[in-house]
């Protein structure tokens, strides 16, 4: 990895730690090496791949493979790619098909809050998968199907469902490179915390 790539990776790790998430660096998973891993309570884990450049379809496939390979050691797993470039549509499409989130990290004064939101959304994803009793990260990202299914089964109520819809909208905006205002980020983080609080009950 280039020096700039390493600097970006360390920056991401420190921002996520600053937001209170436990992060491990350079973890080997099968034949791949994950840049960062965030472990959540109840044996959940998120693989983070940090790219100081454009993301290609093969990058998405390797993160999906890593998240899948980890499912033996963790109850629920998920994968996220953090990039400095705006991802192309085919990359976002492949990511959605494989349950992988792609977050362009754009330098601005709210970058720490963006990382807090990222960590909280990952926690919600893992929590929804745990509730549904299946490690199916695809559906939450791809058209809210998992949240819809849980809502239809009355496992999650109307309030949580509408909050999740708002969160997915926010994430889609970020994925397409939109920079959110301080207030929007605050309200999204607050939304996430309320969802997590309700889901853990």
């Amino acid at each position: 990895m280039s020096k700039r790539g390493q600097e970006f990776e360390s920056k991401v790790a420190s921002e996520l730690r600053k937001s209170g998430f436990p992060i491990k660096e350079n973890v080997r998973i099968g034949k791949w090496e994950a840049d960062l891993i965030m472990e959540t309570p109840g044996k959940g884990a998120v693989v983070f791949e940090v790219k100081n450049r454009n993301v290609g379809i093969p990058d998405v496939l390797s993160v999906a493979s890593m998240a899948n390979n980890m499912s033996g050691s963790f109850t629920v797993t998920s994968g996220t790619i953090l990039t400095t470039a705006i991802p192309t549509e085919p990359v976002l499409e492949t990511a959605a098909d494989n349950g992988i989130a792609v977050w362009p990290i754009i330098e601005n004064e709210n970058v720490t809050k963006t990382f807090t939101l990222l960590g909280r959304i990952s926690e919600i994803e893992l929590q929804l998968n745990r509730i549904s009793n299946e490690n199916n990260i695809h559906e939450f990202i791809n058209g809210l199907a998992l949240a819809k299914k849980l809502h239809n089964q009355n496992i999650i109520d109307d309030e949580i469902f509408s909050r999740i819809q708002t969160i997915v909208d926010v994430r889609n905006k970020i994925a397409h490179g939109q920079v959110l205002s301080n207030d929007d980020l605050d309200s999204a983080i607050d939304n996430c915390e309320k969802i997590l609080k309700k889901l853990s009950h």
Binding site: W32, R53, N54, G56, D59
Partner: protein, 168 residues
Amino acid sequence: MPYVTSVLQVTNVGALTSLKTNWNDDEKRVNAEKFIQKFFSKVKIPRYDAYFLFPKGSHICIRQTTNNEFLLDCYSNKLKKCTTDFSHALRRLRSISPFTIESVDFESEATTLETALYETLISGGALLFVLPLLVEKLVPVDYRLTSYIVAALLYIIGVTFYSWRKTD
């Protein structure tokens, strides 16, 4: 598995898109998907518009993303083959339609134990093993042969382990 991924901005779209009529080759698609699935297990492989098998054995997969943009992904089991085939593909496409390359990225998976051992042997480890044997033939001293062999083996194991664990 090493791979190259790129975004091409094409100026003469017509020439390249007219080639698309010949792009739908199911046999090539199935072979490429099987090859990719071998390395990226348990994932949904995206559909590309075109699949080409190049002379060194790489699979070049192309997808038109917008009117004048194409995405090229090259999958291979060796980085050298991948880069050779990729430049070959670019040359061939350039002869059909002039284009500018917006970005190219190289990536490869972590080194396997076999690759690390191979790299160690060709980068001098084998020589370290063979030289003491030759020296011992000229100057015979008790235990020296054993110690040289042990040292050489330790060297090979150490360097192999180091290059196996090192980050790409």
